[in-house]
Symmetry: C2
Amino acid sequence: MNIEIKRHSLSHIMAQAIKEMYPNVKMAIGPNIENWFYYDFDFGSEEIKEENLKELEKKMKKIISQNQKFEQYDLDFDEALSYLKEKNEDYKVEMAMELKEKWINKISFYKNIMQNWNISYIDMCSGPHVENSNKLDSNAYKLDKIAWAYWKWDSNNKMLTRIYWLAFDTREELDNHIKLLEEAKKRDHRVLWKKLKLFTFSDKVWLGLPLWLPAGWMLWKQVEDFWKETHEKAWYDFVRTPHIGNKILWETSGHWGFYADSMYPPMEVWQSLEEAKVWEKAKESETFLLKPMNCPFHVEIYNDEPKSYRDFPLRWAESGTVYRFEKKWQLNWLTRVRGFTQDDAHIICRLDQVEDELKKVVNFILYIFESFWFDKNKIKVYLSLRDPNNKEKYSWNDEWWDFTQSVLEKVAKEMKLDYIAEEWEAAFYWPKLDFKIKDVLGREWQCSTLQFDFNLPNRFDMTFTNSNWEQERPYMLHRALFWSFERFLWLLIENYAWVFPLWLAPKQVIIIPVWENFMDYADKVYNKLKENWIRVSLDSSADSLNKKVRNAEKMHINYILVVWEQEEKDNSVSVRNYKTKEQIVEKVDNFINKVKIEVVEKKL
Amino acid sequence: MNIEIKRHSLSHIMAQAIKEMYPNVKMAIGPNIENWFYYDFDFGSEEIKEENLKELEKKMKKIISQNQKFEQYDLDFDEALSYLKEKNEDYKVEMAMELKEKWINKISFYKNIMQNWNISYIDMCSGPHVENSNKLDSNAYKLDKIAWAYWKWDSNNKMLTRIYWLAFDTREELDNHIKLLEEAKKRDHRVLWKKLKLFTFSDKVWLGLPLWLPAGWMLWKQVEDFWKETHEKAWYDFVRTPHIGNKILWETSGHWGFYADSMYPPMEVWQSLEEAKVWEKAKESETFLLKPMNCPFHVEIYNDEPKSYRDFPLRWAESGTVYRFEKKWQLNWLTRVRGFTQDDAHIICRLDQVEDELKKVVNFILYIFESFWFDKNKIKVYLSLRDPNNKEKYSWNDEWWDFTQSVLEKVAKEMKLDYIAEEWEAAFYWPKLDFKIKDVLGREWQCSTLQFDFNLPNRFDMTFTNSNWEQERPYMLHRALFWSFERFLWLLIENYAWVFPLWLAPKQVIIIPVWENFMDYADKVYNKLKENWIRVSLDSSADSLNKKVRNAEKMHINYILVVWEQEEKDNSVSVRNYKTKEQIVEKVDNFINKVKIEVVEKKL
């Protein structure tokens, strides 16, 4: 049975237990989220405390053991409303009104029926639920936390009490998940960013728009330099395009038609009223849109000059920052932001080059995962194909679909990708290969993608002159390896739990003089390291040696160099390796060489 | 006498000559621009041809020799209007109406009076003019070109004939200027961009928003890498901030008050009507603005955490793309765009660090100019000070003004800058040092700037804890070295006339096999160069050797390597140096080493 159904049923049991303990509580909503379920309650003047939770848990067990039956029934809108009003369920009344607005007149309820046919609980709910409460395992759920949330996420509304529970099919799964959570906490980029000063948010700049601090910038730079280097080696060229484009561009690309909901609204600049008056004409305007994608700009670059069959393959990469309007409550730190930088590239080529180009991209993707030491078992590959039962929904020509799908599948097979084929019926998706990475909690995140596009070449009438001097349409591939720098950096932060490999570490070395007398020597070492482009800092504070070392360790800096009398005499440093905890004394030049090798070899 | 007055007077003489030749011509406007003056005319069904220009010039000489007197007089609006209508001067009527809109009721005219007291010409004009036409030198002007322009730049209006003239005080100055123009033509980035495929514009992306092509991107990268490297050496940190910020940010900074005219309009995202209905509340919105400056973001980073006196100096750099709405007709290729990337940095420090920080920045600026081989005589330094007669306009405290102005002047003197002090009374300028570069036409372009800011620290209440545990306001400096990457790249393109120094060249080397048989060897050389990160391409076309060499020279590629039988035997290449035209044969390894040295040494 679907675990979601169990979680949903458990939330009714939890609400029933709460109602027994606090009869005046008003119920708000109780959905599932990922591995949890929660329920929001308005406790009014009452309060639920830690000590009450044990009791709550006990009551839930009892309810489950009563083997209550879950039974669905419908009420007409008016009946439903008067029932909910009678019960003072203000929030449910509001939700019922909402359904009415959507012209829903039959409203679904669930009642829990005891063995003695008494009704123990009623909730407005569309289900589905388990049949009987004995389908639920009393040992496979656990209170996670109590939190607070505004009704409908709106700070003008009342603050409600939210109770979160973890729930699984079996006790074993629950225990495993709790272990994962503990691990995740250590790695959580939301904890690490503050501690390590990677990025921040500002309530004036606004939600979903991260500001990258010096350490975060440096991490980003290492990844971006690597990205440029590898793309140059892979024979890509680079372009740079603006963050806004005229509305004409987005109308031509079609985004203004099918993607406008995710775009920021247009910026329309009108001539001044004065200007318009003088010319006695209707005012004129220029309208701009913030870009949610880089693609149409690359197409315009393509169309800038006529192309010939000898110009292919074109591979144009851009680390282009795009803006998409996500709703407030969908935002989530670096994983879901409103502005992000895609490591975009478009490959434009002839039919006879498609297979080779696809293989090159797949190899490139695998190379990237390997370079950052991602566990291969954490990567899942999906091949997206059109729904064969709904072919008529795809207005494009069959031949194109058949070729692109079969060549993708051929490449996936020949390259021995362990892929899952999925059929779908989306309006603006194309045949594609997606590479997803699982995070510490087992959630999958879209990372690399490789997709065909028939839309833009057609809409912008992209052509080239073939060897017979005829105009032909080229093939166009979109691909991103990281998906976005923001998301990839977040995956890296959590993947390494901030013990970054040396080549990525924002700060690689810190020098700590035992006391002031050795400041001159510390300075000398510092300058020498800096000359060698090692990212080093110097702790010149008045703190004790122990405190300085503790501070450095708190920042997870790879190498801590302590300098004292003997070190000054020998032109050496005491090196403490943060990862191995190993401690050795060595010549400064030796240390520099080792660091350089570690960086070049991109050791983990 | 001011040359502008002479040019303006010449435009009346030109119009007078035109009117003699074409009595039905309607006059539009005739302003000065830089070293030119022009006049727009509506020739109706007539046309001015090349052969008519000689006659026009002759007539102008004659008018000048008549020693006509320029005399100003005013007319009431109604009188002026009926005079202009009678003369069928439709465009002047329109302009008079415009003045009326601005509540101007007395309208200024100029008449030209001959020795015999006859009036030879009348024009609506606010002057000033020379007293007599014999103040003008008949040899110091020259027709530059005939062009076409829409009345008021609006393509819905009539196309007018525009006649451009060059005019100077003396014949010598005119000749010198013509020489400069010829030189400039060779260097013009508007010519070079197309030839060398550096950047382009698209009529769908829109005006003022350049798209950087692969070669332009590569040039940009070299400059940006240099920028990062030098800033790292100069102890700067880097940050990265979004391109939009909530309106709250721009209200706090004051930009929304005094800078809104140059900003793109707000993007206001409303809750959907449905959402608002459900909550039975006024709809809520979030409002965003595209950034015209990076400063407020850096201030928010400053305010993210409390600061202490020991944290200073902070130096935060960002290559941040900003967007400013320039009117259509103000746009001019790369010199005036609507989106550009500033090489911004903010220095935040204590009072006792200000002088030292200023000196460091001045040194940094001089180092930049030197690194790019800018002629020192082309750089002009301006020190901006407040107008001492209008002190009350500066709402900020006198002490701050006195200190910042005197420390800037002290630094300029101690560093022996040959500066010009300027007093002004602007609303949002601060004491500053500007470094301007003269282009080939002698026009000055703002490049580096170093300015104090009192506004943002106050508006955002920036503070730090000083050594007495009191809260204190830090000093804030804005500085840009290039001004923007776009403008600086343009200056570089014109400065080097595209014979880029090797370290900057988008393409450094091209390999040309004499014929197909040598393609394998050419490939080998190519791969070896690429492994050494030399920016190389390979001409594998079927063109003749001569054509391939010509093509390479057209692209100004620094080194052309020809490979043939002997070269393959010797593992060598025939190297042709584009700049020196020198031609030698050398071993591939030798060539690679020389290139590497030339790049590292940043030789011109």
